[in-house]
């Protein structure tokens, strides 16, 4: 009995989320690891392509790290506990596509780091799956689905988002990463939902064929 309970607790630990949080903390503690992981445009051009995936673990200050870990921790924890599909695939896709998009769309960015794009995408993914759940949870998820795009649009359109750079942060916030994270999450959700619906239709068709045939 005790063994089964222990197994259930282990099963509930959000493994992907914990892995990302731990690696983020380690790369923040060790500057050597951070320098290998960080998105460095010139290094990528020289062939250090792993930065495309690893740059999201690197953070520029303790506050930057704390905020992003909190946000990603909440999103990842809910997703993994609710067994929403393909979270690890989503993380890899978001990490790669956010970095590639920044590389193409923001040519002035020499260095990039931070988990917020993935956190934004994860929370949006969680909210999208939440729309097919019970009513109160669905309401909260709809609220997130409604607010996040408005917030991202405001960040992109309003130059005020650059202002925290003044005297507080040593980097320029990149709302583009939030946008890409959210778009990747939406596409991932739509593909999964389409597959799920197609599978459901197929199984319903098989059942009906079996019943009438």
């Amino acid at each position: 009995m005790a063994k089964r309970e222990r197994k259930s607790i282990i099963m509930r630990i959000p493994k992907v989320t914990c892995f990302i949080l731990v690696v983020s903390v380690i790369s923040s503690i060790s500057p050597e690891i951070a320098s290998v992981f960080i998105f460095d445009r010139s290094a990528i051009l020289k062939g250090e392509v792993w930065c495309i995936l690893t740059c999201h673990f690197v953070h520029f200050s303790n506050l930057h790290l704390g905020y992003n870990l909190l946000a990603f921790g909440i999103a990842g924890w809910i997703i993994e506990n609710k067994d929403y599909r393909h979270f690890s695939r989503l993380c890899i896709l978001m990490a790669a596509l956010i970095s590639i998009s920044l590389f193409i769309l923001e040519p002035d960015v020499s260095y990039y780091g931070g988990l917020s794009g993935m956190a934004c995408g994860s929370i949006y993914y969680c909210a999208l799956w939440g729309t097919s759940e019970n009513r109160s949870w669905r309401t909260i998820c709809m609220l997130v689905i409604f607010i996040v795009p408005i917030k991202i649009a405001d960040e992109i359109c309003n130059s005020a988002s650059v202002l925290p750079y003044w005297g507080q942060q040593t980097f320029v916030p990149m709302p583009t990463s939030h946008l890409i994270g959210t778009v990747v999450a939406t596409l991932n959700y739509l593909i999964d939902k389409y597959k799920q619906t197609a599978q459901a239709n197929r199984s319903t068709g098989q059942q009906e064929a079996w019943r009438f045939g």
Binding site: H56, H59, F60, H64, Y67, N68, L70, A71, I74, A75, W77, I78, N81, K82, L102, E106, P107, D108, V109, S110, Y111, Y112, G113, G114, L115, S116, G117, M118, A119, C120, I123, C126, A127, E133, N134, S136, W137, I140, C141, V144, I147, V148, K151, N158, S159, A160, S161, V162, L163, P164, Y165, W166, G167, Q169, T170, F171, V172, P173, M174, S177
Partner: protein
């Protein structure tokens, strides 16, 4: 005999009266004007400022506005550079400042206006310039101790000249391209001193410099306040200022307070539902 006695009694009295009556207040005035430099021979400024586009981090220049009159100017180029260094040392601590150029006076022409600033922008590669101007008035009055000047030796050793030096220094920070003044900060100083008639001009020169240094320190303090107000202004009226990052910067994926609140609501609600067994 009576005449001699009367002379002995009257002489000091005449001396006192003449020395007191002879108190002459001498004044000197030095100044430079930003308005005269930027808008010469114009009764009304006709430059229409555009919306400033500030590329962060900024390249800042610091320069003294050319003096209104060249005569009796006690502020040398070296003094100006020293004062500019003091102000620039203060600017350097801000992360939004990339570099600071001290512009020597030789590069600023009398009544140069924005055409001159455009030349400086090209030569030094700066975006924003802090134009330093000053207004200094010095007054010299003779005090009661000046009575000792009658002894001749007193004029050498008794400081009977009372000097007052009032200085106002002003930094007007302009975005050169848009011709818009971003903010200004004043610094004031009042110095009193005494001198003998022999070294009064030297003392006045020293007072003038000390007063400018004191005013520049006050200016640096008010620059802090004005910068804080300017940041608020930029945040409150984003339509009046455009902030763009300069190339080659570090970008960070970071979340602000609203995102954290949103994430926390979602996480908190899920925890509450889980606790109450609804999920």
């Amino acid at each position: 005999m009576d005449f001699r006695r009367a002379f002995v009694v009257a002489l000091p009295l005449v001396a006192v009266i003449s020395s007191v009556a002879g108190c002459v207040a001498v004044s000197r005035h030095h100044s430079s004007s930003v308005v005269q430099y930027l808008y010469p021979e114009q009764k009304e400024p006709v430059e229409t400022p555009a919306i400033p586009v500030l590329s962060l981090p900024l390249k800042v220049g610091i320069a003294f506005v050319p003096d209104a009159s060249d005569w009796q100017n006690n502020l040398t180029e070296r003094d100006k550079m020293d004062l500019m260094k003091e102000v620039s040392a203060h600017f350097k601590k801000y992360e939004f400042v990339k570099s600071i150029e001290l512009i020597p006076s030789a590069y600023l022409t009398q009544n140069g206006s924005f055409a001159n600033l455009d030349q400086i922008r090209t030569m030094f590669g700066i975006d924003v310039i802090a134009l330093l101007s000053y207004d200094q008035s010095q007054f010299t009055d003779e005090g009661l101790a000046s009575i000792t000047y009658w002894t001749l030796i007193g004029a050498y050793i008794i400081p009977g000249e009372k000097n007052d030096t009032h200085t106002m220094m002003d930094a007007a920070v302009y975005d050169i391209k848009s011709r818009k003044m971003l903010f200004r900060a004043p610094g004031i100083s009042h110095i009193k001193s005494k001198a003998t008639p022999i070294n009064v001009t030297e003392q006045l020169r020293m007072d003038g410099l000390d007063s400018l240094k004191e005013a520049s320190q006050d200016l640096v303090r008010s620059l802090d306040e004005q910068l804080a107000l300017f940041k608020e202004k930029v945040k409150d009226t984003p339509q009046d200022f455009q902030i763009v990052p300069r190339g080659g910067y570090s970008g960070g994926g970071s979340l602000d307070g609203l995102f954290i609140v949103l994430f926390s609501i979602l996480g908190g609600y899920w925890l509450w539902q889980k606790g109450s067994g609804k999920v």
